[in-house]
């Protein structure tokens, strides 16, 4: 079986991408299409006194200028947050209203107050500039810590002190007591820098209202078109679900930012009805910086205690999470259930307490971005572990090993139940691959050239495949988190799989196909994956949280079980054998131990002709499954980064980056390696390059590639990627998930390596040359003083 599970099958989708035949939302052109340009606030915080559209309305090509009063007047609902978090005191979140077009107040630079619909994009943009908005500028605040300070400007009336919620997990008193009795305490302030997601394809939408059928079609850049349809109809009242079709065609990357339903999609749908035109909007790169949900932005203090044998006795964390100006769809879940629940890491820790203040600021809304909460947890824990090892004067590898969880299932004090893993093996594999033992010699050699070498670890664990619906429901999720699949065998034996997962770079058309090929011994070219269209696919929760393997493929697996069972019944009937004796392999359906056989396609034909089926069996061969997992899955691993710093300039070169991951079963190693490479590239981006910077007026200073440093090929090393897997007991394929691990695990490894090289733990991300140089100066000043 060269195309089944475990094979390096080349990506089926690449043919159309390499031929330039990908079909993205902006490629779609509807007859009579008009263009939307948004009038956006140039101020971070202001009252909207009046909007004068008269000049714009008279301009060439302008179809309509629409505003928030009209939008709300038509009954379009406010944008929701899909996860209700309960505060420490039992109360609900202090959520402020978010209208797709702001009415009386704008709360971040880029907040839209009106939209121009015109015949051409240039006409729309010209007219948008001619819309006169009278703003009364209010003081603004960009940083969570400043927004919490007394006297800070109030962003939403119903969020006093700008606190969206104050939440906790774990037990405070026992944690304090454990830390009190600790033999050693390490304390750190740790910030997790704010990132802009930057998918290669910007967001885009084209909405068409069909007045004759009272029906809407929306093409959009979505990771989860069914969720988009559900939210657009149930909450925003754009149209009832059966009158709304959402299609997410080829999507060029999402990284979380395309999970959410943004003001622009809502506005395009509504504007299409208002104007009776198809309405298209495609973000430009500046709009992307100004409006795509950002990621991370945590400011934390952490305290970890060890006993005299260097066993961890307790961990206490406080985190201030910047949620931006409005609550985005999953914004509340990210700094809570996706973050603090991972603070136990790979370690046996009996006492953990974490509290989180989620804060409104005059910035772009913050939501899930590749890793979503887990990178923040991993970064915090792995930096403090490495720092503790340095303070204790022990090997960071040894300190971790001493504290590893070694038996499963393992319940942490922060409500996770780890189901499997072998952390020591991953660590050993990474250390061998990195030639850890040879490091001191390499450090000395580098020193002889005037360079500073450092090495850093990161032992990450994360939670994927989010998660049993009942469990997430009890924690406040507004949706269930299962996945669906339909497997359709055609009369000629070829197969279509309709999946609720959505591929926007993950290679589902390849890996999902391999699972089907494996089952029936069919060539992958006989199998087609269908996704991304609510009119074709039954339903689906979409792709995020590395869930498409563990949840999406499990649904396919379950549907295949049903197809296989029916196919066997049909074959047993036709071949006059017992069902139990039927085996399917190599595209043949056989009676074991005989030469009786029929081709897979003959079973399909038999199913659809219906001429000779078992008594009472319905014709056809098509089965559906809705799969709800029993637990999260827990990918884990060990990353080692080795760097060389130029002390003259602070420039850091990554000499090697080694990954040893436990992803459970691997369907296609090539695709998994690609995911790891991309994830690490993003992690290195966060660690060394990327940063959203706001000034005191909450204006973004980094809203273009002139100032926002994306990782480029020459910033990145060759990766050394390894696997040591334990099977996941929670799903039929034994898969854990690999989409985010690289981005989760890599930042602390990089920073631990740089801080090792420069001998100063006080370094924040991104570790740019200027910051590394300054930290080096600080370290040598300190040394000189001592």
């Amino acid at each position: 079986m060269t195309e089944g599970i475990g094979a390096r099958v080349l990506r089926k989708e690449d043919k159309r991408f390499l031929m330039g035949k990908g079909r993205y939302t902006d490629d779609i052109v509807e007859p009579n299409q008009a263009y939307a340009a948004f009038v956006r606030s140039p101020y971070a915080h202001a009252e909207v006194k009046s909007i004068d559209a008269s000049a714009a309305e008279g301009m060439d090509g302008v179809v309509a200028v629409l505003n928030g009063e009209q939008l709300t007047g038509d009954g379009i609902g406010n944008i929701i947050c899909g996860w209700a978090v309960t505060q420490k005191d039992g109360s609900g979140m202090n959520m402020g209203a978010w209208s797709a077009l702001a009415t009386n107040k704008v709360r971040y630079v880029g907040d839209a107050v009106a939209v121009v619909i015109a015949d051409s994009i240039e006409q729309a943009r010209n007219a948008a500039e001619a819309v006169e908005v009278d703003y009364k500028i209010l003081p603004a605040v960009a940083q969570s810590v400043d927004a919490l300070a007394s006297g800070a400007p109030e962003i939403h009336e119903n969020a006093p002190g700008n606190v969206v919620f104050d939440w906790e997990i774990g037990e405070l008193a026992p944690t304090d007591a454990a830390l009190e009795g600790a033999a050693h305490i390490t304390e750190m302030e740790i910030t997790n820098n704010r990132l802009a997601p930057n998918p290669m394809e910007p967001r885009s939408a084209i909405a068409t209202f069909n007045a004759a059928e009272d029906h809407y079609t929306l093409y959009t850049t979505s990771q989860n078109p069914h969720v988009a349809r559900l939210v657009l109809s149930a909450f925003y009242q754009v149209a009832p679900e059966h009158k709304l079709r959402v299609i997410a065609p080829d999507v060029g990357g999402g990284f979380g930012s395309k999970i959410y339903i943004y003001p622009e999609e809502i506005t395009c749908l509504w504007a299409s009805m208002k104007t009776n035109r198809s309405v298209k909007w495609t973000s430009d790169r500046t709009e992307a910086f100004l409006t795509d949900a950002h990621g991370r932005d945590h400011v934390s203090t952490a305290k970890i205690g060890f006993d005299k044998d260097h066993k961890i006795v307790g961990l206490k964390v406080n985190t201030k999470a910047n949620l931006g100006a409005y609550m985005s769809l999953f914004s509340s879940a990210v700094p809570t259930y996706l973050y603090a629940t991972l603070l136990s890491g790979q370690y046996n820790i009996s006492n953990i307490y974490c509290d989180v203040q989620a804060v409104y600021t005059n910035t772009v809304p913050v939501d899930a971005y590749r890793g979503a909460g887990r990178p923040e947890a991993c970064y915090l824990l792995e930096r403090i572990m490495e720092t503790a090892a340095r303070e204790l004067g022990v090997s960071p590898a040894e300190l971790r090993r001493k504290n590893f969880v070694t038996s499963f299932p393992h319940e942490t004090p922060v409500i996770m139940t780890y189901d499997s893993g072998d952390f020591a093996t991953n660590q050993e594999q990474a250390m061998t691959a990195a030639d850890f033992d040879g490091f001191e010699a390499r450090r000395a050699e580098a020193a002889s050239r005037g360079k500073l070498r450092g090495i850093g670890f990161s032992n990450y664990i994360e939670a994927c495949g989010i998660a049993p619906s009942a469990a997430v429901g009890s924690l406040g999720a507004g949706v269930g988190l299962w996945e669906s699949a339909e497997v359709r065998v055609n009369p000629v034996g070829t197969i279509e799989v309709l999946t609720g997962s959505h591929s926007h770079g993950q290679g589902h058309e390849t890996t999902f196909t391999q699972v089907v090929a494996e089952r029936f011994g069919l060539p992958t070219e006989n199998i087609q994956i269908v996704h991304g269209d609510t009119d074709k696919v039954q339903f689906g929760m979409g792709t995020y949280g590395s869930r498409s393997g563990a949840v999406g493929m499990s649904a396919i697996f379950k549907a295949l079980d049903k197809v296989e069972a029916k196919a066997k019944k049909i074959a047993a009937h036709v071949l006059e054998a017992s069902e139990d004796d039927i085996v399917i392999e190599g595209g043949e359906v056989k009676v074991a131990g005989t030469d009786k056989t029929m081709g897979w396609h003959e079973v399909g034909l038999a199913a659809y002709t219906g001429h000779n089926l078992p008594e009472g069996m319905e014709p056809g061969l098509k089965e559906t499954s809705f799969y709800d997992p029993t637990n999260f899955t827990f990918p884990a691993g060990c990353y080692i980064c080795e760097v060389e710093v130029d002390p003259d300039t602070g420039v850091t070169d990554i000499i090697q980056f080694v990954a040893s991951d436990d992803f459970g079963t691997i369907i296609n190693p090539m695709i998994v390696e690609g995911q790891v490479h991309g994830g690490i590239a993003q992690g290195i981006g966060q660690a060394m390059l990327e940063n959203v910077v706001y000034d005191d007026d909450a204006q973004q200073l980094s809203a273009s590639y002139m100032d926002y440093a994306m990782p480029r090929a020459d910033d990145l090393p060759n990766y050394s990627v390894h696997h040591a897997s334990t099977e996941c007991p929670g799903n039929p394929l034994g898969m854990k998930g690999c989409g985010e691990a690289g981005a989760i695990g890599s930042p602390p490894a990089v920073i631990n390596a740089i801080t090792d090289a420069i001998g100063n733990n006080d370094l924040s991300m991104p570790a740019t040359p200027s910051k590394v140089w300054a930290a080096l100066q600080a370290a040598s000043a300190k040394q000189a003083a001592e």
């Binding site: 240039e122 943009r125 010209n126 500039e129 500046t286 003259d648 300039t649 602070g650 390059l689 940063n691 910077v693 200073l701 980094s702 590639y705 002139m706 100032d707 926002y708 440093a709 994306m710 740019t768 040359p769 200027s770 140089w773 300054a774």
Partner: protein
């Protein structure tokens, strides 16, 4: 982008006349600065007068010790010119380090110095080499040409035709790229010219490119990287931004100057 009228100039005289007749026209050369600015709707010229097709404004020519580069010569053509590589490798090398291949095959030396971005590379070379900037109307010494951030001595509608300089005994450019834009965060061009050592710094000065006279004095005494270790570089007058403060830039000025001198051929 706002609407604009495009004209292709056939000669320098044609360009001068076209730009003179326009309402609020702009010269267009490689378009690598002007076009992105227009796309971002930050510039709205009524007319574009494209000089990139003017034959007289193209190419590198060397006569005796004088090097002349046409204003519309692309960075790639400068980088790849074998005679220039032999005569003044520092300039070829500088051009090879600008932007990416697409930028180098469109962007031109004339556009670069006319724009005088405080982080652009060419201004450092022109100033350090004591180049002469020849326009349709006059000749301007580099020392007088670069006036400040995005400011030059050019009059409205004045067209740069070429730049020329005497090949130095030694010259090299050391650039520390901005991590995001890869323009110069600090770039130092050091040249041993007939008039002595000249050291020009780009990327660092809050007033654009400038000469580092303390370093020039030190190098006049002893042309070696080590002599620069004794030169104090203060942070006053240097840029601070999200990529690095003035103190860091001051350090980079020193480090890049040493590297430039060490790399001199």
């Amino acid at each position: 982008m706002y609407e604009t009228k495009y004209h292709k100039a056939s000669s320098v005289a044609d360009a001068v006349s076209l730009i003179g007749k326009s309402d609020d026209g702009k010269l267009l050369s490689g378009g690598q600065t002007l076009v992105p600015t227009m796309k971002a709707r930050l510039a709205a010229p009524s007319d574009l007068v494209d000089v990139s097709g003017i034959a007289d404004m193209h190419g590198v020519s060397i006569s005796g010790s004088t090097v002349t580069i046409g204003a519309a010569t692309t960075h790639a053509d400068v980088a790849g010119n074998a005679d220039l590589q032999a005569k003044c490798g520092g300039v070829a090398c500088l051009a090879a380090g600008i932007g990416d291949p697409a930028v180098r095959h469109k962007g031109t030396i004339g556009g670069s110095i006319a724009n005088n971005d405080p982080a652009a590379d060419y201004p450092a070379a022109m100033l350090a080499l004591g180049a002469t900037i020849k326009t349709n109307a006059r000749e301007i010494a580099a020392d007088d040409f670069f006036v400040g951030m995005f400011e030059t001595a050019l009059e409205d509608d004045e067209v740069i035709v070429s730049v020329s300089f005497d090949a130095p005994a030694k010259a090299a450019y050391a650039k520390f790229p901005n991590p995001a834009s890869r323009y110069a965060m600090v770039g130092v061009f050091a040249a041993q010219t007939a008039d002595g050592a000249r050291v020009a710094v780009t990327g660092a000065g809050s007033d654009g490119v400038y000469r580092q006279s303390d370093m020039e004095a030190a190098l006049d005494g002893d042309w070696s990287p080590d002599v620069l270790s004794g030169v104090q570089v203060g942070s006053e007058g240097l840029l601070s931004d999200i990529h690095g403060d003035a103190t860091y830039r001051a350090n980079l000025v020193k480090v890049m100057a040493r590297r430039a001198v060490a790399g001199c051929a």
